[in-house]
């Protein structure tokens, strides 16, 4: 009986907290989009995950030569640590860790040849939700608008 009551207690406390974490992570996406997407095209797709105890989230994405991409890591962690990105090639060789490049709200990326890359999202400390938005535009568009 005690075990049952304990289960009910944790469900009643834990479930709303879990759902609220899910919702708040989803709610962050329009905020990040409005703040940082600017004149990049966005296909409406995003990736979202809850990261606990050093977990990471992985995304494969095809990047075309001649197109500039905007990577917007979007999330909030329990320690207020920023969300970082590691970029790997298709063979999982690390190409770049944004943590080594300082804290930024977004990163623009250009490749000299079309490649499939693996993107890993992680928090250096703490738990939290993590999402990624990827915008794209032709470099020519950038120069005509500036």
């Amino acid at each position: 009986m005690r075990a049952f009551l304990r289960a009910v207690f944790w469900l009643s406390v834990g479930l709303p907290l879990f759902l609220s974490a899910q919702t708040s992570c989803k709610d962050l996406i329009p905020t990040c989009r409005d703040a940082y997407m600017e004149n990049f095209g966005w296909d409406g797709r995003y990736w979202r995950a809850e990261l606990y105890g050093g977990e990471t989230s992985e995304i494969y994405y095809t990047f075309f030569r001649g197109i500039r991409y905007r990577l917007i890591p979007c999330g909030s962690s329990s320690t207020k640590a920023p969300l970082h990105i590691r970029l790997y090639n298709a063979n999982r060789t690390l190409l770049l860790d944004t943590r080594q490049q300082g804290d930024r709200a977004y990163w623009d990326l250009e490749l000299s040849t079309t490649q499939l890359l693996l993107i890993e999202l992680y928090y250096p400390s703490g738990d939290g939700c993590a999402a990624l938005l990827i915008g794209h535009r032709a470099p020519m568009e950038a120069s005509t608008r500036q």
Partner: protein
């Protein structure tokens, strides 16, 4: 119907393309009255759940470039328009089930390609077919009459229209996922992917001087293993999944024969003011007519498997 007529009157018809666009909302509205699809072996197949968490499936699911992304790249490469390479848009009513979802991906790619090469009339024909098929999966409101009108208004601003189409595509994926139609989403992605490969080969054949398009072929060396995983991780391994895997393995074999480059590319990376530039040393090598022929066969076989009526 009145709103369609009013919308048509309000439009300024400067060219033949605009005239077609003016009647397009009506076309879309009529398209909703579709015939029931005939059942084929692929249509009647049921797919299944995955043995791994959805987050992991997602990592593979979104690896293939979206039709809009491929179209943006083709536009950048200034390719020509090859109508005969595209799938017949009038067959939309013949499809349903997972075959319909795959064909939806094919039509989306054809539409995006026609749009990016400024063949607006053809683009809207494909949009009509997309709308017909989308109705089968409850996502046709994403391409509603109002939204089509918005696209029409952006006709002289193709980049903005392209962004809007990208957004609609993303919403479609999101909706399929949220309504428990992940299996359909997987087939839509596969359909979009095979059509982009088929188109690239057709373009390389017609415009052999555009050898930079061969990058799309080199890319497949990394991409196909992920697609094979995507079809290997469903729990029941249905006949259609096994069939798709066989086709993917054939394509992979041909690609490995033609492309010798390693996928272990390490670029020189420069980061400045938040811009990351990766300079890869390896470049895609061109393809001979013979190599193209070798690749076309398995690609065409998978495409035919998806679109046969």
């Amino acid at each position: 119907m009145d709103f369609v007529v009013k919308a048509v009157k309000k439009l300024s018809l400067n060219e033949w393309g605009s005239k077609f666009l003016a009647i397009f909302p009506l076309t879309i509205w009529l398209a909703a009255c579709t015939d029931a699809p005939k059942e084929s072996s692929l249509q009647s197949s049921q797919d299944t759940l995955y043995a791994i968490p959805w987050e992991e499936v997602q990592a593979y699911m979104k690896a293939a470039p979206s039709p809009l992304q491929v179209a943006a790249w083709l536009k950048q490469e200034k390719v020509s328009f090859i109508r005969e390479a595209l799938h017949d848009p009038t067959l939309a009513t013949k499809y349903g089930g997972i075959q319909g979802a795959a064909t939806l991906g094919i039509y989306l790619t054809d539409m995006a390609y026609a749009y990016s090469t400024q063949h607006y009339q053809e683009a809207y024909e494909y949009l009509s077919s997309v709308n017909r098929l989308a109705a089968r999966y409850g996502v046709d409101d994403i391409l509603s009459v109002d939204r089509i009108r918005l696209l029409e208004k952006l006709q002289d601003r193709p980049d903005s229209a392209q962004k809007l189409l990208s957004q609609y595509y993303g919403e479609m994926q999101q909706r399929l996922e949220e309504t428990g139609q992940q299996v359909m989403l997987r087939h839509m992605i596969l359909g979009g992917w095979i059509e982009s490969l088929h188109l690239t080969l057709a373009l390389l054949e017609k415009e052999p001087q555009k050898q930079q398009l061969a990058e799309m072929i080199t890319l497949q060396k990394s991409l196909i293993p992920l697609l094979i995983k995507l079809y290997s991780i469903d729990t029941a391994a249905t006949a259609s999944s096994r069939q798709v895997i066989q086709h993917l393995l054939s394509i992979q074999e041909s690609i490995n024969t033609v492309v010798s480059e390693s996928t272990d590319n390490r670029p020189v990376t420069k980061v400045e003011k938040g811009v990351i530039q990766m300079q890869f040393t390896s470049k895609a090598t061109g393809l001979s007519a013979q190599q193209l022929h070798l690749l076309k066969r398995p690609v065409s076989e998978l495409r035919q498997y998806m679109i046969k009526v």
